[in-house]
Amino acid sequence: SAVISQKPSRDICQRGTSLTIQCQVDSQVTMMFWYRQQPGQSLTLIATANQGSEATYESGFVIDKFPISRPNLTFSTLTVSNMSPEDSSIYLCSVATGGSSYNEQFFGPGTRLTVL
């Protein structure tokens, strides 16, 4: 399995500001993902972070709101832009390891974001 770290672990932000979350993996991985978990809810996939190209966003998520960078195979960032209280969530990055189509997916510890 991969060891994944995220920064910050939590933050409290003001409405209208932006926050960039970092995700670092201890080994090179092909697939990295960003998920959101709203309070008391399950996880929803935001986007697939592609190395060297633009991220692939899921329905309901757009690049202007959630810009993603993936400069190499061990690192990615997610920015939550122009935040509102509805963006208060846990944001988690994950990686899929292995070379088969049955890849286990491992998650970072998450970033707990509160928007006032």
């Binding site: 049955y102 890849n103 491992f106």
Partner: protein
């Protein structure tokens, strides 16, 4: 993408008892994975079962998959207080690693 959906359960059991939770989904899947989450923290990967597998064990965990019924179950045997957590199933599709998560089950193990 596939949608895993657990039966909406909040289990409260005594330590030493078994806990069973279920997950159903709607479309064909490549694999199904179970996760544990403690107190809103990161997810811990428990087990992956492939679409061509029917049962899998890992320690005190037993997962079954019935693709004809599009359902899976997670059994935790001899539960411990440390098993108190939310448990999620997530389905993976073919050709990608995107996961669709179910709603989750809250399990409370009383010492």
């Amino acid at each position: 993408s596939q949608q895993g959906e657990e039966d909406p359960q909040a289990l409260s059991i005594q330590e030493g008892e078994n806990a069973t939770m279920n997950c159903s989904y709607k479309t064909s899947i490549n694999n199904l994975q179970w996760y544990r989450q403690n107190s809103g923290r990161g997810l811990v990967h428990l087990i992956l079962i492939r679409s061509n597998e029917r049962e899998k064990h890992s320690g005190r965990l037993r997962v079954t998959l019935d693709t004809s019924k599009k359902s899976s179950s997670l059994l935790i045997t001899a539960s411990r207080a440390a098993d108190t957590a939310s448990y999620f199933c997530a389905t993976g599709g073919y050709g990608n690693n995107r996961l669709a998560f179910g709603k989750g089950n809250q399990v409370v193990v009383i010492p």
